[in-house]
Symmetry: none
Subunit: 230 residues, 2 copies
DNA sequence: AGCCTATGCGACGATTGTGTAACAGTCGAA
DNA sequence: TTCGACTGTTACACAATCGTCGCATAGGCT
């Protein structure tokens, strides 16, 4: 996942009608969709877009789906990306071969769109090992991602969802200065159109939340550059 | 159990990417993990490490998972170790054969990591009834999985099946925030397609049931994230 | 100093997430 | 069969939170 927002899916399907329907539904479900209609483009887009998951048609001109799958599963940097293969019923015999090639799941046409979504989400959940278990600490601030709780000097703080994500981001690299654009990317999500000034406001809110029981301001403003923790 | 409280798990999976993700998560969940990428090593490590539980991939080079399972269940000294088999969807037909071979549970890929953890804990609890863990407790709520009964302040509560499963899930990790998707996975099951809002409704019902004799609301809503106990 | 830009902050409607009641469908027991 | 318990979905209301604006203030230049 881009860190913050929509999961990115690369949809590779040569049949335009099917691709469009699928893309529409995926977007309605909150995915950021990149489309390709052949295997060659797909290989390029994998590098450019760094998708979180790939939905791949089996039969395609030029480079077939299974070939794309095989190549991606051989590269160490792309191996981790889950791949869901789509296949027409007639090709069902090749099912085993598909999974052997490294596909993570397999959906036979005609499929239920709901089912495909559910499987896509399942894959994302499987691969993304949540930041669980790691308690972030900085000075007297303690953040537990698992329980979604933030403490300062052993007092529980109350923060909104965006403030929480913002704090997680800052605490993952204390001292590092994040530009407003970077924060928008990391906290809000990649392609979301929001004024960069909004970051200021939320930093302000985060500050207030962090100091709700007293204490000094742990957030540093770097004029002309951005913000950092400490 | 291992000496220091951590349950030891032997993880046998030949695909490095999957093994790594799983190991990471298991360790984050408090397991002591030993890894093997083939059946032969697995057999040796069973003796050397004396794991409390084994997670075993079905398909593997050399000695297959099912073969490892069969051998271990024949030896009197290893028969008692619970084995959870992992299998790709295409091999689902072999399910019966897997359980016949003696596997104690069976998880189909793609699985939710959370679910796998939950099942592993369930197996450990089953094998080790003497150890505290049979009866789940949190504050004044007591849940006895054996008798399927829930008490609060020594009064018996009446809950429906789904409410019960939901409460079990939450009580297995008090404080941890579960997203609606995770709860759907853990309580309803992975290939059931149900609206996430349904979770809200059942949480509401659980709340009412838990407070039917008075008392405060033990379920915490984490806006934008999910629910947790306490 | 004066000027210009970047930032802090309060206030405002708009949006989103959640709680809950109501409803219809399913299932099993009597 | 009829009954009752339970389910998943929907609709509505309310509250939390959001993004933007306006203006005040602070910082960095010449």
């Amino acid at each position: 996942m881009g860190k913050g927002g929509q999961p990115r899916v690369l949809l590779v399907e040569d049949e335009p009608a099917q691709r469009t329907v699928l893309a529409y539904n995926l977007e309605a479900e909150g995915f950021a969709v990149t489309q390709a209609d052949n295997g060659e483009d797909a290989m390029v887009l994998v590098d450019e877009e760094e998708p979180d998951i790939i939905i791949l048609d089996w039969m395609m001109p030029k480079v077939s789906g299974i070939e794309v799958c095989r190549r991606l599963k051989m590269r160490p940097d792309t191996r981790g990306i889950p791949i869901i293969m789509l296949s027409a019923r007639a090709e069902e015999v090749d099912r085993i071969r598909g999974l052997e090639t490294g596909a993570d799941d397999y959906v036979v046409k005609p499929y239920s769109v709901l089912e495909l979504m559910a499987r896509a989400r399942a894959q994302l959940r499987r691969v993304r090992p949540s930041t669980a278990g790691v308690v972030l600490e900085h000075e007297d601030i303690r953040l537990d991602p698992e329980s979604h709780r933030v403490y300062r000097a052993d007092k529980v703080l109350k923060l909104g969802p965006t403030e929480f994500k913002l704090l997680v981001t800052l605490m993952e690299r204390p001292g590092r200065v994040f530009s407003r654009e970077q924060l928008l990317d990391l906290v809000w999500g990649r392609d979301i159109y929001v004024d960069t000034r909004t970051v200021d406001v939320h930093v302000g809110r985060l500050r207030k939340s962090l100091m709700q029981h007293g204490g000094s301001d742990p957030v540093r403003t770097v004029r002309g550059a951005g913000y950092s923790l400490g």
